[in-house]
């Protein structure tokens, strides 16, 4: 499929810059610093979850809908569970799923993208068609159908993310491989007699991986959204596991009884999403401004 | 201010310009003097990084934001262009001053037809759309675009590189400007096309009578086309004069070395070609002396400490060298 802009070509082969200076520039970008800060907070929250005195799944119906206070910092939900604790445990789920699923998508994307880009033309055509077909199924629909068959679970969420993001990455990788394949330095390597594996691993992938990682970082909030969204629909993590999506759904159900559940479920999604997006934007601006057109 | 025939169309005097870059201040142009008479074709020659494009941008008022004019003036038909507002400058561009840019592949808007673009640039004219179109067709015919009536509704990518450049020339000359700035217009073309384009340019120029500032790094093109030549090196004009004179008797060491290593200027085949050693000076911190001192075989202490003044020497009108009258350098490979 041809379109006026292909984000991938823009990302091909640019000058690598010195990492340390870049890090400094990254942090000196207020948005990048803020993003990094928010992510650090989220990660710390996920790590600290186990240190809290409350059990995230321990029920205590007698203190349901407690208002925030010294005992329950964010109050309790309809089953008397401590919302703050659940919120922090939710961070674990969100981070593990989003990072795990993104890494899985990257690997899948890299594999198929390199195959399509380097492979024979018929293989490329088939893979391309498959990627386009996957991308033509709207995300939520794909998730819903898949989960109708697999049943709700964490793995289903990961599978959805891989199926949604994998082809996108694969397409980017493929375009870059195609662009790189005819790049002079690849030609030069081939003229020296370098084989496929050497060219792919030493010269192609290292030149693709940078922008791809940045794109992936910017996709993490979307993955957090997918996980929370599916859990919100009751198709993600199963109760009683605390996910921001399920907290939010409970909050939605009891929105008249307490607004704190909506806060505990929604706010961290907003914070994490902003954190990763800000950081991703800053990373991109620092390392690869051309990606902005994605 | 009254103008008489002998007044130059464009006079750049003492122009000093620098860029604000993260590493400091890059002194891109230093005390540049240049003038173009009415109907004169002036070649501005320089290698990469010599500042010829910056000079062009300064004349056209198309400088990027980081550029700062520190001193000097650019007078065009009696007006100092450096003091003009963006709006006033727009009033001149495409009317009294026109440009042809280097890359014919990207200089035209890819999503508008040639005709649309040629009509758009006649925005000052009171003519009807139909008349503007007719003028555009006529102009295309003048630059020898075959079948201009139908070609005018085509998009730029449907033209070959040479034709595109001719379209660009047609556009630039449509308003019969007093000054045409041509920024390496033939560099991207093959030799046969280059010659044809130069011929066309010369022909149209003599018809319209405009002055031309022709920017190039190709010495042969200057020799072929230009009445006068200005040699630029590292942000300064080091030598200036009538083309024939300068080619015959270059006075600045840089000019001499430059001519010396151009294979086209070397009559006898030789396996080992001459070159100029060394690198361009760092323009963020230029040394106090002559800008060419670090590479000049004749440089002595005077050259490294004192900045040379502009001299008249030989048949050249301007030579920025402490020793303009020294004998010609022996070029050896």
């Amino acid at each position: 499929m041809s379109s006026a802009v292909d984000p991938a070509t823009a990302a091909v082969v640019k000058k690598p810059r010195k990492a340390r200076g870049a890090m400094r520039r990254l942090v000196s970008d207020p948005l990048g610093a803020l993003g990094l800060g928010l992510i650090v907070v989220t990660v710390l929250a996920a790590l600290a979850a186990g240190l809290l005195p409350h059990d995230p799944v321990k029920l205590n119906p007698m203190v349901r809908f407690a208002a925030p206070g010294a005992e329950h910092w964010l109050g309790t939900d309809n089953l008397g569970r401590d919302l703050f604790t659940r919120m922090l445990y939710g961070a674990r789920i969100a981070l593990v799923i989003s990072i795990g699923a993104t890494v899985a998508s990257l690997l899948v994307g890299l594999l198929f993208g390199v195959l399509a880009g380097f492979g024979p033309r018929w293989l490329d055509s088939i893979l391309l068609l498959l990627m386009d077909a996957m991308k033509s199924v709207p995300t939520v629909m794909l998730a819903l159908v898949l989960i109708t068959w697999t049943g709700p679970s964490l793995w289903a969420v990961v599978l959805v993310v891989v199926l949604v993001n994998g082809p996108t990455y694969a397409r980017i990788v493929r375009t870059q491989v195609l662009a790189l394949r005819n790049a002079e330095f690849i030609e030069a390597e081939r003229a020296l007699g370098a084989g496929f594996l050497r060219v792919a691993s030493l010269h192609v992938v290292p030149n693709i991986i940078g922008p791809l990682l940045i794109l992936a970082a910017m996709d993490i909030p979307i993955v957090v959204g997918i996980e929370a969204g599916l859990s919100f629909l009751g198709l993600g993590v199963r109760p009683p596991t605390p996910s921001w999506g399920t907290i939010l759904f409970d909050g939605f159900s009891y929105i008249r009884d307490s607004i704190w559940m909506v806060v505990a479920g929604g706010l961290p999604i907003v914070i994490t999403a902003l954190g990763f997006t800000f950081l991703g934007e800053a990373l991109r601006d620092t390392f690869d401004p051309k990606l902005a057109k994605r | 201010m009254s103008l008489d025939a002998s007044d130059p169309v464009l006079t750049v005097s003492g122009l000093t310009l620098s860029y604000d870059i993260p590493a400091g201040e890059l002194k891109a142009l230093r005390d540049v003097n240049l003038s173009i008479g009415k109907g004169e074709i002036v070649g501005l020659v320089g290698e990469s990084g010599s500042g010829k494009s910056t000079l062009m941008q300064a004349i056209l008022g198309l400088l990027p934001g980081a550029a700062q004019i520190r001193s000097g003036s650019i007078r065009f038909e009696g007006q100092d262009l450096t003091g003009l507002s963006a709006r006033q400058m727009r009033g001149l561009l495409g009317d009294r001053i026109s440009v042809v840019f280097q890359d014919p592949m990207t200089a035209l808007n890819p999503v508008l037809t040639i005709g649309r673009q040629m009509i758009d640039i006649q925005h000052r004219s009171k003519l009807s759309r139909r008349e503007k179109r007719a003028r555009a067709i006529e102009m295309l015919a003048r630059v020898r675009i075959p079948d201009p009536e139908s070609r005018i509704d085509r998009y730029p990518h449907e033209f070959s590189g040479g034709m595109r450049q001719r379209v660009a020339i047609a556009m630039a000359l449509m308003a019969k400007p007093a000054l045409l700035v041509a920024d390496e217009p033939t560099t991207a073309l093959d030799a046969t096309l280059e010659i044809a384009t130069i011929d066309l340019l010369r022909e149209l120029q003599s018809e319209i009578g405009c002055a031309v500032l022709f920017i190039t790094h190709h010495l042969g093109v200057v020799a072929e086309l230009c009445d006068r030549i200005d040699i630029m090196y590292a942000g300064e004009i080091v030598e200036s004069g009538a083309t024939g004179a300068v080619f015959q008797d270059p006075r600045h060491p840089y000019t001499q070395l430059l001519f010396g290593c151009d294979p086209a200027q070397i009559a006898e085949p030789m396996r080992h070609l001459p070159s100029i050693g060394g690198n361009l000076p760092d323009l963020t911190a230029p040394l106090p002396g002559c800008i060419f001192a670090s590479r000049c075989p004749r440089a002595d202490e005077t050259c490294t400490t004192g900045h040379p003044a502009d001299h008249k020497a030989g048949q050249s009108d301007l030579v920025r060298c402490h020793y303009p009258l020294a004998p010609r350098l022996e070029i050896s490979a």
């Binding site: 082969v13 640019k14 330095f185 030069a188 | 030799a191 010495l219 042969g220 070395l257 290593c261």
Partner: protein
Amino acid sequence: MTPLLSVRNLDVSYPVGGLMAKLRGADQLQIVAGVSFDLARGETMALVGESGSGKTTLARAIAGLGGLVSGEIRFDGAPLNTSGRQIRRDIAFIFQDAVSSLSPRLTVRALLREPFAIHGIQYPEGEVERLLRLVGLPATIAERRPHELSGGQARRVGVARALALKPRLVIADEPTAGLDVSVQSEVLNLLNDLRTRLGLSLLIITHNLNIVRHIADRMAIMYLGRFVETGDTAPVFAHPHHPYTAALLSANPIIDPEARKTRLYLKGEVPGLVRRPKGCEFHSRCPFVQDLCRSTPPSLREDGPVSYTCHFPMEASVNA
């Protein structure tokens, strides 16, 4: 003595278009047609032509870098296996764009050690420094990365890489493109020095006739993928037989207005490869075209050290 490289009736095509083109049988575009030449040891030959003349395609095909090749290529007397590994050591290719022909994330040192790694050859200690010295670069440059090099430096690194495995033929594609006059000589001199010192053969692709005149022993002029004229450099310059050669030579801008008057101008534009003209393929642009040219392809003719394909060759005096 057999020539180092011997090419006979070489055709090179590239696949184009998609399924539809395949159905129409128009899925291949012939870019190089019927090229034959020999290159002796230690000789420098220049391939000259304008954009689209097929000179780069020809060179790449010889180096085994693509194209559907038919015809015969013999290297050192034996048929050349363009897909084998040995050809990579025997024939080195120097790319047009020096900076972008170096893998951007590797240091110069890593780049120079790569040829050895690729071919599984024990890396000789100090070889990087030796190669850098060979191409006139300081050893300190070894830790830089390609984007930290100037155009000239990058080109030298490219040359050093090409020479690492001691090739016998070096193909240089537009080795001076984009370089300033003051620098291009350095690169040409370097190539020439190496040729003499290492006994290489050089195949140089260029559109710049001025450098050809100085550095090439022999030259070939290409038009639409064919050699229209081949021969020793000096005689060709002195007396071009083919009108195209004459036109190219006269397209050299000069200061002398008188000399311009004898300039030969070509008509129109280069026809597309898809619709090659009948007869002499140059006839659509030839100022001296006659009926015969439109119908019958000229055969190869020889005049001393020069051979050409033209029915009505130029007189010796035209470009005097």
